[in-house]
C-alpha cells in the first residue's frame, strides 16, 4: 500500500493555525483560567473555588432558569412561525419576493440597534406600542419594567429579529419537497390542513432540525439583546447566564466569570449534542 503523502496537509496549516490561535488555545486556556483567580498580570491557582462561588450566587438559579425559558421559548416560536411564514411565502402570494425581503430584513440589522429601538417602542408610557394600544382603549403593560414580563418581551423581540433566518431555512427545505407528494395527497383526498400536517411537516424535518438546533444555541448564549434592552433587569428578573457572567466580569471577578463561561459551554454542549444526535437519527430515517 502506498504511503499517503504529507503534501496535502500543508494546506491545512494556515486555517489550522488561525483556528488554533483564536479558538482552540483560548478554549483550553479558559478551562485553566476558570480554576484560577486572574487579572492581566497574574493568575493564582484556586482549584474549584470559582465554581463553588458561582453555584452559590443567589441569583444563579434564576439566571439558569431564565436562560432555559428564553432558549426554549424563542426556539419554539422561531420554529413554528418560521415554518408558517415559509409556507405562506412559497404559496404563490402576490408580492411574495418583496415579503420575503421584509421578513428577512431584521436579520441584517445590528442587534444593539434592534435592542435600543425596541427599548423605545416598549417604553411604558411613551413607547409606540403602548400609545397604539391606548388609542384602542387598552392599557398596555410595562413590557420591560414589569419583572414577570421583561424576559418574555425580550424573547419576542429576539423572535422578531431571528424568524427571518428560520423562514429562509424553511423556504429552502420546502423547495426540496417534490410537488408529486402533494398531488398524490390531493388525489387521496387530503385537505389543505392534512397536506400541511401529513406531508409538509414530516418532509421538511431536516430544515426543522437545523432551525431548532441553531435557535437553541443562539438562545442559550444570548447576551447582546438582553444587555441592550434590560441589562438583566428589572432587578435580576431578565438575567440570563451570559448577563450574569458579564456582570461578574465587570465587577472584576475574572476567574469567576471564566468559570461561568465554562459552565455555559458545558450546559450548551450537554443540551445540544444529545438533541442533535436524536434529531439527526430520526432524520436519517427519511
Amino acid at each position: 500500500m502506498q504511503r499517503r503523502s504529507p503534501y496535502p496537509y500543508w494546506f491545512l496549516l494556515p486555517a489550522g493555525t488561525i483556528f488554533a490561535v483564536f479558538f482552540l488555545v483560548p478554549t483550553v486556556a479558559s478551562f485553566y483560567f476558570s480554576l484560577t483567580y486572574w487579572d492581566p498580570f497574574e493568575a493564582r491557582f484556586a482549584g474549584f473555588e470559582n465554581y463553588q462561588q458561582f453555584f452559590s450566587e443567589p441569583f444563579l438559579a434564576r439566571g439558569v432558569m431564565n436562560t432555559l425559558i428564553f432558549a426554549v421559548l424563542t426556539s419554539g416560536l422561531k420554529t413554528v412561525l418560521g415554518l408558517l411564514l415559509a409556507v405562506l411565502l412559497t404559496s404563490g402570494l402576490l408580492g411574495q419576493s418583496l415579503l420575503r425581503s421584509v421578513v428577512f430584513f431584521p436579520v441584517l440589522v445590528s442587534t444593539i440597534g434592534v435592542g435600543l429601538l425596541f427599548q423605545e417602542l416598549m417604553h411604558p408610557t411613551e413607547g409606540a406600542i403602548n400609545v397604539a394600544l391606548e388609542a384602542v382603549g387598552i392599557d398596555g403593560p410595562g413590557w420591560l419594567t414589569n419583572p414577570s414580563l421583561a424576559l418574555v418581551s425580550v424573547a419576542l423581540v429576539d423572535v422578531w429579529r431571528g424568524v427571518g433566518l428560520a423562514t429562509l431555512i424553511y423556504i429552502a427545505g420546502l423547495a426540496t419537497i417534490s410537488p408529486d407528494y402533494y398531488e398524490a395527497a390531493r388525489i387521496d383526498g387530503a385537505t389543505r390542513w392534512q397536506q400541511f400536517w401529513r406531508v409538509t411537516v414530516p418532509l421538511v424535518r431536516p430544515a426543522t432540525t437545523t432551525v431548532i438546533i441553531l435557535s437553541l444555541i443562539g438562545g442559550l448564549r444570548l447576551f447582546d439583546l438582553i444587555w441592550a434592552m434590560t441589562r438583566g433587569g428589572p432587578g435580576f428578573a431578565s438575567d440570563v447566564l451570559a448577563s450574569v457572567i458579564y456582570k461578574q466580569y465587570q465587577a472584576g471577578f475574572w476567574g469567576l466569570s471564566t468559570a461561568g463561561n465554562v459552565i455555559l459551554f458545558l450546559l450548551i454542549a450537554l443540551l445540544i449534542v444529545p438533541l442533535a444526535l436524536h434529531l439527526n437519527r430520526r432524520e436519517a430515517d427519511l
Binding site: S178, E183, A184, A185, R186, I187, D188, D285, L286
Partner: protein, 326 residues
Amino acid sequence: MSDVVLKGLRKSFGALEVIKGVDLHVASGEFCVFVGPSGCGKSTLLRMISGLEEQTSGMIEIGGRDVSRAEPKDRGIAMVFQSYALYPHLTVRENIGFGLSLARRPKAEIAEKVAEVARVLQLEDYLDRKPKALSGGQRQRVAIGRSIIRDPQVFLFDEPLSNLDAALRAQMRIELTELHARLGTTMIYVTHDQVEAMTMADKIVVLNGGRIEQVGAPMDLYDNPATPFVAGFIGSPKMNLYEGETARALGAGSVYGIRPEHVTLSESGGLWTGTVRHVERLGADSIIHIEATGLGPLVARVEGHRAFAPGQIVHASPIDGREVRY
C-alpha cells in the same frame, strides 16, 4: 360502467395552447395507452383527467358523470406517478393505507384492506419497510397498491416504468397487463415508449402537438397507420419514409413508407439496388442499413444473422401490399 369520455378538451398555458381539442372515448375496462413524443401533451391530458390540471375548455365524463370541475378525489380515479410519490417517512403499510387514513376509516378496516392489497401485489414481506429499503420494482408495486386500495373506477399511470431498467420494465409490463386482466378496471397509461404501448394496450391513442393523430388497436395502428407521423412513430425500427419526388415515383401522393421487416433482400434482382453501410446483429434477426440508389437510406430487417457485410451490393424489394402511401 367506468367509461372515460373527453369532449372538445383544450388546455392553454398563457398564450401557448398545448391541448388543441381532444375528443376520445375510452370504454369501460379498457387498457388505453396515450403515446407520443415528449411535449405532445399526453401527460397534460392525463393530468386533466385526474383533475390535477384544469382544462381551459371542454368536458370530461367518468362513468357517465360530468367531472369537468370536480376535485381529484371526487373523480373516482387513482394515479401512479413516474416518481411513485411514496412518502419516505412512512412504511409500506402506511403508504398503502395513506388515503384511507386521511379519510379517517377505522383502523381495523385499513389493516384488512392493506393486507388484501399486499397479498395481491406480493408485498406482504415488505409491509414494515420504508420505501428507501425497497427495489425499484417493489416501490412501483407499492405505488400501485396505494392506487388499488382506493378501489377506483379508473387507474391513471404517468410513465410508471421509465425509472426502471430494461429487464425490470419488461417484467412490470407483464405484471401490469395481468393486473389489468384480474381487476378489469379501466386504465389509462401514458408513455413515450411505443413498445410499452404496443405490448400492453387494448387501445392506443397517438398524440402529436396537442392533437390526436390516430386511435386504434395496436395492430390496427401497425398495419394501417392513418398518418405519416403514426407510421413513423409506431414500430421499431422505424418505418422507412420517403417524401417528394421519390415518393411520387413509387406511386404515393406525398409520402411513401415501408417497414424494415417488409423489405426483402437478395443478392440478385430487386426494385432497389444499394450498398450495405452497417449491420446490427440482434441474434434472432439483423437490422441492415443500406444506402439505396435513387432512394437514400433504407433499413431492412432480416431473420437470423445472414451474411451481409458493409460495402456489399444488395438488391431490395418491398413486400406487396405492405407499403403505405399518403
